[in-house]
Symmetry: C2
């Protein structure tokens, strides 16, 4: 991977950049996560999505525990260089709840509650065994 | 708008939540922006996307200057309640550069530079007249 790409990305004051992940198949938006420079480097080197977890304060590869890897198809950068969009092949589902997308709840017509509209594709109790 | 929705969203330490905006038509991801509680309230009340500009430190309605409004079709919340996805009808283009999407540059196969692949739909010099 060329350093030109890394230097072009504007990481924030915490060294992170927000990343939108979209399914190559149905164009569904799967999740929003964050990368630091190392996560971006590994993602581009391996072709598999890596992130930085703000809660666990560590690098992780999507699917390392669940097997639900995300294979990079395309990467885009926005006009301000401070947000990235990755189009991926999602194995299984993206969400730790077992849903295909993390955005599985939609605002109802009355605008007073979110209803589950996304499909569940795996059982998290089976996949995240301790 | 019901307060239940506002209290469900986890705004960050700056009172902001990241918002992914996707085109209802071709499912293209248009932009990533931020909302505070007031921007979210106005968005849901008016049906037109409002954001909080971190650089200008103020609320703004997309299209207020350019006429390129974004009409809300659907709103989703993610599993952690800390990111929103809006599906919108985009008038004109979303990007201040004149492109339909802010993600108009794609990483090339050699992974050493971004190439413009998105379409330009308006002339910013015409639209943002002073």
């Amino acid at each position: 991977m060329d350093n030109k790409i890394l230097t072009q990305v504007k990481f924030d004051e915490n060294g992170l950049v927000p990343v939108i992940v979209q399914s190559a198949g149905n164009r569904e938006v799967l999740m929003l996560a964050y990368m630091n420079a190392e996560a971006l480097t590994r993602t581009l080197e391996t072709g598999k999505m890596h992130y930085y977890s703000r809660s666990r304060k560590k690098l992780w590869m999507k699917g390392e525990e669940s097997g639900n890897y995300q294979e990079v198809k395309d990467m885009y950068i926005d006009c301000d260089n401070d947000a990235l969009l990755f189009v991926v092949e999602q194995k299984g589902g993206a969400c730790h709840t077992g849903h295909y997308s993390c955005f599985f709840r939609k605002l109802n017509d009355k605008k007073d509650e979110f209803l589950v509209t996304g499909k569940k594709v795996f059982d998290p109790d089976e996949v995240y065994k301790k």
